[in-house]
């Protein structure tokens, strides 16, 4: 199990393509050991250049590419939110990053479906 949101999403995208770690690393022209560490959480914040090569190698869609860019800069993001966003394809990359960076006063935390719903409701109240 990946320890970071980034690793979780990288592994998901690679497995969806039925590629091996070496396949992706070769396509991205990066060290496969480094790529392995990104997936398993040993490394968590690749440079923009390296991430761009990985995104290209994985042929990630625009939504997933945006999520990867966000996760590379926010390694503390909960993997459970990444998992939820992968299941619910209606969650946009902006909604994903809004939910990931949400902060709360008090001890109560909404679950992720409720949090996404709240983000949408608050944004719909604009104007």
């Amino acid at each position: 199990m990946a320890l970071t949101g980034l690793g979780f999403l990288l592994q998901h995208l690679r497995e969806e393509r039925r590629d091996s770690l070496r396949d992706v690393a070769k396509l991205a022209d990066i060290d496969h050991a480094y790529y392995y560490r990104l997936e398993t959480g040993g490394k968590e914040s690749p440079s923009d250049d390296v991430l761009a090569k990985i995104i290209k190698a994985l042929k990630a869609g625009e939504r997933e590419a945006e999520m990867l860019r966000y996760l590379a800069k926010h390694p503390e993001t909960d993997t459970a939110l990444v998992e939820y966003a992968l299941k619910d394809k209606t969650v946009t990359s902006e909604e994903f990053s809004s939910a990931a960076g949400a902060v709360f006063r008090g001890n109560i935390r909404p679950d992720y479906p409720k949090l996404i719903e709240r983000v949408r409701r608050m944004l719909s109240m604009e104007e």
């Binding site: 960076g101 709360f104 001890n107 944004l123």
Partner: protein, 292 residues
């Protein structure tokens, strides 16, 4: 730079300076505008959800529970402003609300920040210093600044020149104590999670005994490892519904009792040989063995 209480206060005071509130209560909307956030009133939040904030395409949104009291809403807004300004995240998972669980440092910093905005030092301290030390004074300040009694009480003790402390206890145990600088410098320490002292007015109130006005108590009943002696005045309020006790402690004198000399200190003071020589204008250096 690593974050600490001092840097949090400095960040909050930057905003207070920029907004420069001259009227009381402090203008929360002006703080929100200064930070560039968008305020939303959320009526769908549960009673125990004061508020939250998020970022969307670079815009900062603060959502506050519209069913909360105006005082609580104001504090929540400033707490969320702290998250934005200080860049502090909050725990993803639900946090147990037990009294024994230590609060996250980020949340404590955000509360300190909020208190600085709502009770600006320059406006609050002169009024606090002029007021009589009492719970009634804290009530009056809370009303005037449109904040909760708890927020006003904590701030009252923190800014007062006199030796004073405000203690919040829950279910018979101290959760936290805020002390004035004079008490902190004197080493008066109220340990969190200790039982409310048995002989205290606070314990009596919690036990259902009616009390009228402040009572005297030995300082070492409240302060840990306190060797200065002295008698504190204690005033308290117990909220039966939540089993919470709010305690105000202070020394009647402007300064805490002086440090009592231990046996060893006294010996040293009496031994003239270990004291520094009286200044005579002759420099003790360079010595005779000065290197050329």
């Amino acid at each position: 730079m690593a974050m600490d209480e001092f840097s949090v206060i400095m960040e909050a005071r930057k905003i207070v300076r920029a907004v420069n509130p001259t009227a009381i209560p402090a203008p929360v909307e002006a703080y929100v505008e200064r930070v560039g956030a968008i305020l939303k009133i959320d009526m769908s939040l549960a009673d125990n959800e004061p508020g939250w904030s998020f970022d969307h395409k670079g815009k900062k949104y603060i959502c506050v529970n519209g069913k909360d009291s105006p005082e609580r809403q104001r504090f929540t807004i400033c707490h969320e402003l702290a998250h934005i300004v200080l860049g502090l995240p909050s725990e993803h998972q639900e946090v147990p609300s037990s009294s024994y669980v230590k609060r996250a440092q980020a949340e404590i910093y955000c509360d300190i920040f909020a208190a600085e905005l709502l009770l600006p030092f320059g406006l609050f301290r002169p009024l606090a210093d002029k007021a009589e030390i009492s719970l009634v004074s804290i009530d009056a300040l809370a009303n005037r600044f449109n904040v909760s009694f708890m927020a006003a009480g904590s701030r009252f003790a923190a800014v007062l020149k006199a030796p004073c402390a405000f203690v919040f206890s829950e279910k018979g145990k101290v959760r936290y104590g805020v002390r004035s600088t004079a008490l902190r410098d004197a080493g008066a320490w109220i340990a969190p999670r200790i039982e409310i002292p048995q002989g205290s007015l606070s314990a009596k109130l919690r036990g259902g005994v009616a009390c009228d006005g402040p009572e005297e108590i030995e300082a070492d009943e409240w302060f840990q490892h306190w060797e200065r002696g002295g008698t504190l005045l204690e005033e308290a309020r117990h909220l039966d519904r939540f089993d919470q006790t709010l305690t105000l402690l202070w020394f009647e004198d402007e300064v805490p009792p002086p440090k009592r000399g231990t046996g060893r200190d006294t010996e040293i003071e009496e031994d003239e040989d270990v004291l520094l020589k009286e200044l005579d204008g002759v420099l003790p250096w360079p010595g005779k063995k000065r290197r050329r």
